[in-house]
């Protein structure tokens, strides 16, 4: 690992992250850095401990060894602004789309004009004008998920974690939403960790892909992806990277 370059550039530092549940060794000495505004994807074989990994980053679990630093301070959900997008949409059913978008920022007591500005920005970026006064149950699952993603970006979090937000969607829809998330990311400059089982998705989105091994999960390889965007999923370069990553984790 060559992280001697410029430490200040690193938004997030993960050092020797290790987790045991009793005797069960889930995560083994995982270290990596994330640069400010980077889009990082994490892939690994099914059941490799990705969920534990995520829960350690959000501090739902505490690590057995190692530490997670944000801006050179140990990560603390009370101090740092972490946002998570889960696989299932998690909007508040009693709030409208707009109220849902405001929700997190109101909890953080941001000034009203700032909230107004950010909500307007997100609604425009996502093209959600027609939905702003609707309730989540009136939306399709994909639209509900877009609201959640919008809400997360609007928080301008220090670190945005996404856990397979497009899990069960078809390719057409997925490409559309992936393009959208890239647009949001570029616009907002957010630091993103995106966890997925889908290798094509990882190669399409990421600036860098971390490949995890089977349990206990270690970092098997780091793959930098500097293909120009929008990326062509059928270009030979793309397929080469996709096949390479698949070979690293294929169990099926």
């Amino acid at each position: 690992m060559s992280n001697t370059v410029n430490k200040d550039e690193n938004k997030v530092r993960v050092e020797h992250l290790t987790k045991f549940f009793g005797d069960l060794h889930v995560l083994d000495d995982v270290s990596f850095n994330i640069k400010k505004g980077e889009f990082l994807c994490v892939v690994g074989p099914t059941g490799c401990g990705k969920t534990t990994f995520l829960n350690l980053l959000t501090r739902i679990y505490m690590p057995t060894k190692g530490e997670l630093y944000i801006d050179n301070e140990p990560a603390d959900p009370k101090k740092h602004n972490l946002a998570v997008v889960f696989q299932e949409p998690s909007s508040m059913p009693w709030l409208t789309v707009e109220q849902n978008l405001r929700f997190g920022m109101e909890i953080k007591h941001l000034p009203k004009h700032e909230i107004d500005k950010r909500v307007e920005n997100i609604i425009n970026l996502l093209g959600l004008q027609e939905f702003r006064n609707q309730y989540p149950h009136q939306l399709s699952i994909s639209t509900a998920q877009r609201i959640i993603i919008g809400r997360a970006f609007a928080m301008q979090p220090d670190l945005l974690l996404m856990d397979e937000p497009y899990g069960q969607m078809d390719i057409k829809l997925r490409f559309y939403l992936e393009d959208e998330v890239i647009r949001l990311w570029r616009e907002m400059g957010t630091t993103v960790v995106f966890i997925t089982h889908n290798i094509e998705e990882a190669v399409y989105l990421a600036e860098r892909v971390l490949i995890l091994t089977n349990k206990p999960a270690k970092i098997k390889e780091e793959v930098k992806i500097d293909l120009p965007r929008p990326r062509d999923v059928s270009s030979p370069e793309f397929i080469e990277i996709r096949n390479h990553i698949t070979d690293q984790i294929k169990w099926w």
Binding site: D23, M62, P63, G66
Partner: protein, 274 residues
Amino acid sequence: MSKKKINIENMSAAEIREHRLNILYKVLPIISILLLIGLWLFASSLSSGFPSPGDVWERTVRLFTKPVKKMNLFGHIFASLQRIGLALLFDWTFGIAFGILIGWNRKAKAFFTPMFNAFRAVPPLAWIPLITLWFGIGEFPKVLIVIFGSLASIVVNVQAGMSNVEQIYLNVGTVFNTNSRQQLFKIAIPSALDAIFAGVRTSTSAAWMVVLAAEMLGADSGVGFLISRGMDSMDMPLVLTSMISIGIVGALLAIITQYAERLICPWTRRKKSF
């Protein structure tokens, strides 16, 4: 979380903090019970009308050496259990069958529901005068009151389970060409078993509550009778002895029905273990 072996040396400070919290969660209930006994001791030291734990223990022992109405504590508990046993036997046969009928058959539901709702809107104890008038004060009226007090809870649960059978299971049945009898016995009833068991649990605890009330009004056996006997003779240690045994038996009944459910419906085990 099931953490089998906990190895302190391997843990980080944060995990040790987590581990200590988990120990605290186990210790707090014990402290709570100790505190309750402490309060009891304190209260009994203030007023002579409030017996101390020692008094109650002594009274309990005396109940075995000098039985009341020729029955020791276990005898009275058994008498009460016998009454709820008879009542529950009726609940679990007629009540379950009736619940299945109105949960499965829409015509039966439309016909019987108003009748049933009228019946269950009346608290069981309100029946006591009429039942006493009709049947006197023997065993049968007591069992009847217990039935009146516990039947509704099983019927409601069974009916809910039967009318909420997941459509997909019925679809599976249709695709495999089940006839309507098979739909009922192979799919609907098994899938409603956990609701039926919820009914078994609530009817058991309801029966145990009502039997005490029934016994307090003219009986010569049962824990409810012990309480009223204690009240009549100002024997407060006896009242407390009965109260505690009622609590313990009630808790045991809950544990037994839960255990029976796990035995009969092993597929619900995972849900229940949380």
